[in-house]
Amino acid sequence: MERGERIGLGVATVGHILLFGILSLGLVSRAKLPPLKNEPIDVVLVDAIGARSAAPDSTTEPPAPSEAPTIAKPSEAVAPEPAPAEPDPAPEPAPVPKPAPPKPAPPKPAPPEPTPTPKPVPPKPAPTPKPAPKPEPRPVPKPAVKPTPKPTPAKPTPAKAAPAKPTKETSAKSATASPAKPSKADIAATGDTRDRRRPDRTEGGGAPSTRPAKPAGGAPGDKPAKAAGSRLGADFLKGITPEKTSPGKSTKPAAAAVSASAMQGLAGAIKRQVQPCYELGSLAGTPAMSIVTTLRLRFNKDGTIANAPSVAEHSGVTPGNQAYVRQIDDVARRAVLRCAPLKLPAELYDGGWEDIELRFTPGTMG
């Protein structure tokens, strides 16, 4: 009797201790699971900043000169005269003339024919732009304009004779064919300051001795070839135009794409680091889930947060979850503050994560 009960008591005590020990251990291992589960959260970098970072216009400009040489090279190949260093102005016809005009202006007083050979060097820049613009108009009308280029080599004399008239005529003749020429006409019509340009050109036309002389000098060898192999010229122009357009377009988008991908990676890194700290807690499953909070964050270079994160905007706020707005904001703010020193690539700081907006989308429940 006594013995049986004592055995029972001993067995029960030992059993309880064992059971609770096992439960403690087992539940400890189970308690490690919860930290693994994160609420489905979408942290998105707002695109506006990406655009700002992609802004580096300086990067888009450098490619432009690179385009020009490529254009110039073929032109050199065909007509070595046009210019080795001048190609830079070539893409930008407008700016070049401006510096040019003063230079030609001094020569103007002494435009007289005697100087042609020595001074032609300064004037060259001015005339060169013309050859450059000419190819530009050509590419557009390539097929139809082929005849016109032919006349131009032939024109030199009539054009020289009547510099202004031919432009009007050409503008009238081929409105589509010569975008640059109409511009000349416009310039002639509108700007007094541009009159200087026109004079240049008119003088170029008037002092065509230099220009025609050069084309005549250089062209005689080449232009005949062009004229003879006008097909080649057309092909050459074709080659130019795609080069012009494609590199220009490709380089600009390329810069944007790089920064965009960098921003993508940055967004991923930020999301990865902030997400573990984003705990909805008791808000999970409430109407608050449909509120999307966008935080404006300014970072220091070491990844810490410079200002208290401010709420940039909300979306998905309904009368039903109006009461949760402050809490959900706090959750987002707390997430950022708790994970505060973010580890992000330092080279992307300026214009990258220096000043960003984070969008917190608490799950797909809402």
């Binding site: 049986g4 009960e5 403690s24 308690a31 703010r333």
Partner: protein, 229 residues
Amino acid sequence: MTNLPIAPTESLLSPITLFMQADLVVKTVMIGLLLASIWTWAIIIGHGLKLKRVRKASEAFEKDFWKADDIDSYYDGPGKADLPPARVFSAAVTEWRRSTAGATVDREGTRARLATAMSAAVGAEIDKLSDRLSVLATIGSVAPFVGLFGTVWGIMKSFTDIAAQQNTSLGVVAPGIAEALFATALGLFAAIPAVIAYNRLAHVIDRIEARLNRFADGFHGTLSRELEL
């Protein structure tokens, strides 16, 4: 805002952690329920073994008894055993000897006295066997309520915490509710085996009682026949 008491995720649900975090009242309830559980299992094990032993020994005793030829010699030998049927037997024999000691024997009176003595012995034996069952019955019925009391108290406390912290974050509420629910869990943990064991042991004791009564009736019949000789 930033210094919220975030619940430690590690081993939050460990029984020991829950117990250590609990309020004093809840702790008391938990300790009581744990002791009740231990007691329940002590009774289940000890009493279950005892009943099993008693049942087997009783069967063996009865088998031997009906094979025995001489009641008086059996009374002096195996009849002294510490078993319910043996005690019923010895009670009947004692009453028989007292009743038949005189010159004249009142048969009817003797029969009645024998029946009374044996039923009293059976009742005493059953009482002795089932005295612990009341404990099981009590634990089985009360433990859930005690656990519920602990839970209600714990939840009250966690709501007080919520009110004090002005925050409904799960981190504030969870530990209190977990420890509160742990009290109910302990109550059920003690009560469920107690109820099951109570029903099981009551059934075993009923069978022993029925068997004792059959034995008593049989022995009463034997003694009655002896009276008529």
